[in-house]
Amino acid sequence: MVTADEVWAALAEVPDPEIPVVSLVELGVIRDVRVSGHRVRVELTPTFLGCPALEAMKRELEAKVGALGAEAEVAVVHDDSWSTDKITAVGREKLRAAGFAPPAPRAAGPTTLVQLQSKAFRCPYCGSNETRLENIFGPTPCRSIRWCETCRQPFEQFKTI
C-alpha cells in the first residue's frame, strides 16, 4: 500500500504546466494528501481561478498517483488558502533563475498601485532595483510585466496573491 510520503515524493516530480522549472509541490498548490487504503485524495488550490493550466494540473496529478498503483481523486479547492507566500524557497530561486521575478510577500492590506510602481522589485537577470511597471497583466493571470532600466529588457513578475 502506498504511503502519504511516497505520494508527496511522486507529486514533487510533477512540473507546473505553464512554468515547468518549478514543481506543483514547490509552487505550494498541493494543499493536502490523504491516503485511505488504495485511494489517494489530493487537494489542489488554483493559483488564479482563471488559470488555464488547472485542468492539465489535475490530469497530471491523477496520472502520477495512478502510476503508484493507487486510485486518485483530485479535488480543486476554491478558497483563499493559497498565497504566493506558499511558494517554497527552492521554488522561488528556480523561478528567479528562469527569468521570473518571485512575488513580493503578501501584505496586510490589498496591493496598491503605489506598491506596484515602487522600485522594490528586482530584475531577475541583473539584480537591479531600477525597474518599472509596464503592465499589471501579462501572458497568464499570475504574472505582470516589468521593465529593467539597467539591463534594458522586460521581465515577468509574479503577482502577489
Partner: protein, 217 residues
C-alpha cells in the same frame, strides 16, 4: 436560503462574469495599445475563471455541470445584468463600464465574504484576484476623470451599474463612486430583462458547442 434561490444567486454572478469576460475579450487584437490588448485579454480570462468556479458551485445545487450552465441555456434564461450585455464600441464607455462594474462587484463580493459558507471562501479568493482588475480600472478612471467623453459615458452607464446590485446594496455603490443616489434609484436597469444584443453574443458564444453537441476537446 432555499437551494433554488441560492443557485439563482450564484448563476446571476456567474453570468455577469462570463458575459463581461466575453465582452472584454472582444478587445483582444483591437485595443488602443498593445498593453491594453494584453490587459483586457487577461482580465477577460480571469473573469471567465471566476464564472467557472461559481458555475461549479451552482452545478452542485442543481445536479448539473459548469459547461451545461454556461452554454446550454437559452438567452432568456441567463440572469446577468444588462450592464455586462451592452455591446460597447468606444473606449471611454468600455473603461466606464470596467470601472463601474468593478466597484459594484466589490460591494457584492465584500457582502458575500461576510457569510460563513463555501461561497464566502470563494468570494475571498475572487476578491484577492479582483484587486488587480480594480487597480487597472482605477488607473484608467483617474486618467480620464476630466475627459468629457468619459464623464458622459459614466453618467450614461450609471443606471446600468446600479442594476448589478440588489436594492439594499445600491446606496453603498453610490457612496463609493460618488455618484448621485438621491432619486431613490428608480431608474436602475436591473436584472430581469435583457438587452437585444445578448442574443447575438449568445449565438457567437455557443456556436461551436451547438454545432457539435457533446464533443470533447
Amino acid at each position: 436560503m432555499h437551494a433554488n434561490e441560492r443557485a439563482r444567486q450564484l448563476l446571476a454572478i456567474a453570468d455577469d462574469e462570463l458575459i463581461l469576460g466575453w465582452r472584454d475579450s472582444e478587445w483582444t487584437g483591437i485595443a488602443p495599445t498593445l498593453e491594453e490588448d494584453v490587459a483586457f485579454s487577461s482580465i477577460a480570462q480571469n473573469e471567465i475563471g471566476h464564472a467557472r468556479a461559481l458555475y461549479e458551485l451552482a452545478a452542485r445545487e442543481l445536479g448539473s455541470d459548469a459547461d451545461t450552465l454556461a452554454f446550454d441555456r437559452a438567452p432568456d434564461d441567463y440572469l446577468c445584468a444588462p450592464l455586462v450585455e451592452l455591446h460597447l464600441l468606444d473606449w471611454a464607455h468600455t473603461i466606464a463600464r470596467r470601472w463601474l462594474y468593478e466597484e459594484a462587484d466589490r460591494v457584492r463580493i465584500e457582502h458575500l465574504m461576510r457569510g460563513d459558507d463555501e461561497l464566502a471562501g470563494l468570494a475571498a479568493k475572487i476578491d484577492r484576484e479582483e484587486t488587480y482588475h480594480r487597480l487597472h480600472a482605477e488607473m484608467w478612471a483617474a486618467r480620464l476623470r476630466d475627459e468629457p467623453r468619459f464623464r458622459a459615458a459614466v453618467d450614461e452607464l450609471w443606471p446600468y451599474a446600479l442594476g448589478v446590485l440588489p436594492q439594499e446594496l445600491r446606496p453603498e455603490l453610490a457612496r463609493r463612486v460618488g455618484l448621485d443616489g438621491s432619486n431613490g434609484f428608480g431608474d436602475a436597469h436591473g436584472r430581469g430583462s435583457h438587452r437585444p444584443e445578448l442574443q447575438e453574443l449568445w449565438e457567437t458564444m455557443t456556436e461551436v458547442r451547438r454545432s457539435a453537441p457533446g464533443a470533447q476537446w
